[in-house]
């Protein structure tokens, strides 16, 4: 398979995953920001949305203040923001067009359809119910793309590369949500138990679509350390670090088997997974939640670079 094709597939899936993550972040932020002031505290939720999306620099170069309108405009529709939902779909579609023959018709139609629809919407200022519907639609595109990939693709290297892109992006998104909100999960904050924290915790779960899963797994009220456990170590939770790395290792091993060769990417992924498997959430807190998350983000980036070096260059 051409390296460029693999690269396009890898980024195509990353961009679709990123668009979906942005939609969930915006939804959770919108919900949190709309709580009555009594539950609100001092934090500006829109600021942390910008931080979570990892585009603070570009955002503040353009907007003085983070509020509903400026953040929605920048994260969803701004052409100057390379990671806006609009640009994610635009780039995904461009990549898809370059590798069309490697995609199934269902995947192509999902992306092409989304791109056509988005061009129709892009210049309209969406607000209120329209915005909610739009964010729901973006998530739906992610689901449809994911679903058509799972249901229609051959299980070969094409599939592996697109999954690897998606999983790296997913792990990164979960990690960045935790990175921005980690202080809310620390015990000294948690015991305050004020109204605000409770809704903040809910918002974290919501941003990774895990409100219901949490209750199924722990069968108790929302506790900050259990949220950390769920999103970092629980491999039943599809967006957790552990689950992403379980899958990453599996797909990288498949590639290595198909190509008859192991490399740095396989080794990095395996050692990262081993660390997650052997960790206990109490140790994580003891050694420092923030450091743990920062290290993970760096490892995840290293794995992305190794995959690039080994296969995509």
């Amino acid at each position: 398979m051409l390296s460029r094709t693999a690269d396009n597939l890898f980024w195509l899936s990353r961009y679709i995953e990123r668009a979906e993550a942005l939609a969930r972040i915006l939804e959770a932020t919108q919900r949190l920001a709309s709580l009555p002031a009594a539950y609100g505290g001092k934090t500006n939720e829109w600021e942390s949305a910008v931080a979570t999306a990892g585009c603070a620099e570009g955002f503040y170069a353009k907007h003085g203040e983070a509020d509903h309108d400026s953040v929605v405009a920048y994260l969803a529709f701004d052409r100057d923001n390379p990671s806006s939902i609009l640009n994610c779909f635009e780039t995904a579609r461009h990549n898809a067009r370059s590798v069309r023959t490697a995609l199934t018709i269902e995947m192509w139609e999902t992306i092409n359809g989304a791109w056509i629809e988005l061009r129709r919407l892009a210049d309209r200022r969406l607000a209120g119910e329209e915005l909610t519907r739009f964010l729901g639609w973006v998530k739906e595109i992610g689901l449809r793309f994911d679903g058509s990939a799972t249901r229609t693709m051959l299980r070969n290297d094409i599939y592996d590369f697109s999954r690897i892109g998606m999983l790296l992006e997913r792990a990164d998104n979960t990690a960045r949500i935790l990175d921005v909100k980690y202080h809310l999960l620390l015990p000294e904050q948690g015991e305050v138990g004020g109204g605000l924290d409770y809704y903040q915790w809910q918002a974290i779960l919501r941003a990774v679509s895990a409100v219901t899963s949490y209750h199924w797994v722990y069968r108790e009220s929302v506790k900050p350390w259990l949220i950390a456990d769920l999103l970092i170590l629980n491999d039943q939770m599809p967006r957790s670090f552990a689950a992403c790395y379980g899958e990453l290792v599996r797909h990288l091993d498949q590639l290595a088997r198909a190509y008859g060769r192991q490399g740095p990417a396989q080794r990095l992924a395996r050692s990262c997974r081993a660390r997650l498997e052997n960790a206990d959430i109490r140790d994580v807190f003891q050694r420092g939640l923030h450091e743990f998350i920062t290290d993970f983000i760096a490892d995840n980036n290293r794995l992305g670079a190794a995959v690039h070096e080994q296969y995509l260059a």
Binding site: S3, R4, N112, A313
Partner: protein
């Protein structure tokens, strides 16, 4: 104006030609909203498949659909048999001519084609002089544009010997028609075209250099997604099951071409390139080309890779050489051309020029190197200003132009806003030449000028396409 054009369905006395009888009955019986409904369905299908093309210089409509006409064009088995013979003859002559021009130059020595038409031709590649591509075949994929003027007469309008496009429309038009009009297919024995991809692959593989392995690796080289024919490139690569590569996916080491794959470098034997000569290798041709592969020519000259079509075939397909095709056929094959040439005034010749200048309002004037319907004057349809503009151009550089009488291109029934109405058509069949023979799939791309009375069928000028049915009996 020429007399009313020959209509392929309905003769001037109102009778329907036999091949079209069932179609005419069906059209007469079809309720108007049925046709309209099928048109909408067809557009939806094309939009979904994503068949689009880019129009150069049109920023707004980056991706447009070529209008598709749902009424098929029908060619009888007999007509097709004649066409086939003529096409095979024509492409064989083209191959012999190019081989000669870069080799012994016998046709020049014999004084049949003037030397300056060859050596001053922009498409002439001195790099190929004295060189022989694998199997001494040059034009492996040709698109020969044919028009019809009456029941018996076909003319060749243009030879496309570089990188002819349009075959994806031939294939997709058929797919859409089969989905939309199963009832019509059950009433006609239409020769299938779907074999084209297999035939093309067999042709390409037969062209592999002798140094390649038993299983030659074939790729399709595209300029990339922004090229107007990108859809076709990806479509063909998919149908052939070969990699669609860009220049940056290939590299040359020790005069062998490799592609970069996820499993390391892989040798490439045959490159079906959809990039013009001058962009192929920045070390030899345009140094600013980012589309090509540095060193490709060295591998080509070493005989380690086949390029289809070969480099330098443009020397055979410009409009000035076109006028010599009958002589070229006679010279190499010793036989009379089966398909006629449109009588052509070479404006480089003073007598011809003065005739052309006196009859601009009757003639079609074309740039020798133009294509895609750009830079063309259709005298009978042109305004005074357009005619004067061309008069000035002609006087300034007569050798850059040829002129032809305005042919009454045949018409076919076409579905337009006002209903079913005749529109002018042409036909581009595709001729494949491999080391193991010539292959022509029964059919081709019928282009139709959607505007009433227009003779310009090019998609860049608002032309549409039709499915072309060659009847099997």
């Amino acid at each position: 104006m020429p007399s009313p054009a020959f209509d392929e369905m309905t003769l001037s006395d109102g009778s329907v030609r036999p091949a079209y009888r069932k179609l005419a009955e069906w059209l007469a019986a079809a309720p108007p909203d049925l046709l309209q409904y099928r048109v909408k369905e067809a557009e939806l299908l094309f939009r979904r498949i994503g068949i689009t093309f880019a129009v150069y210089g049109d920023q707004q409509a980056q991706e447009r659909l070529i209008p598709f006409d749902i009424i098929p064009r029908i060619i009888t088995a007999d007509e097709w048999a004649t066409l086939t013979k003529g096409l095979v003859q024509r492409v064989e002559a083209l191959n012999r001519y190019i081989s000669d021009v870069y080799g012994k130059r016998e046709i020049l020595k014999a004084g049949i084609v003037p030397e300056d038409l060859v050596f001053r031709n922009e498409a002439f590649r001195p790099e190929m002089a004295g060189k022989t591509p694998p199997h001494d075949l040059w034009v492996h994929i040709a698109g020969i544009d044919v028009v019809r003027v009456d029941a018996d007469t076909f003319y060749v309008l243009e030879d496309n010997a570089r990188t002819p496009s349009g075959v994806s429309y031939m294939l997709e038009n058929r797919e859409v028609m089969i989905r939309l009009f199963p009832e019509l297919f059950s009433q006609h024995r239409v020769a299938p075209v779907e074999r084209y991809a297999d035939e093309l692959l067999a042709t390409l593989r037969s062209l592999a250099p002798r140094t390649s392995s038993a299983e030659p690796v074939v790729v399709l080289l595209t300029p990339g997604v922004y090229n107007s024919a990108y859809y076709e490139h990806s479509f063909l690569a998919d149908k052939l099951g070969i990699e669609l590569v860009e220049g940056r996916d290939l590299f040359v080491r020790d005069e062998v071409v490799y592609m970069r794959t996820t499993e390391g470098p892989q040798r490439v034997d045959v490159i079906y390139r959809r990039i013009d000569d001058e962009f192929l290798d920045p070390l030899v041709f345009r140094p600013d080309s980012a589309l090509g592969v540095p060193g490709l020519m060295s591998a080509y000259h070493a005989g380690n890779v086949t390029l289809t079509n070969a480099i330098g075939t443009g020397v055979a397909d410009d409009k000035a050489i076109y006028s010599y095709m009958p002589e070229i056929i006679r010279f190499y094959l010793g036989s009379e051309p089966i398909l006629k040439n449109v009588p052509t005034y070479r404006c480089r010749e003073p007598e011809a020029l003065s005739y052309v200048l006196d009859h601009l309002d009757e003639l079609v004037v074309k740039e020798v190197h133009g294509s895609g319907g750009y830079g063309m004057l259709v005298g009978p349809h042109a305004s005074k200003e357009q005619i004067e503009l061309f008069r000035a151009k002609l006087k300034a550089s007569p050798a850059g132009f040829i002129a032809q009488p305005t042919l009454a291109l045949s018409t076919c029934p076409t579905y337009v806003a006002s209903g079913v109405s005749p529109r002018h058509v042409d036909l581009r069949p595709f001729v494949l030449t491999g080391s193991n023979g010539v292959r022509i799939v029964p059919g081709g791309l019928t282009r139709v000028a959607m505007r009433e009375g227009s003779l310009v069928v090019n998609s860049s000028q608002g032309g549409g396409t039709k499915d072309t049915w060659v009847l099997d009996e």
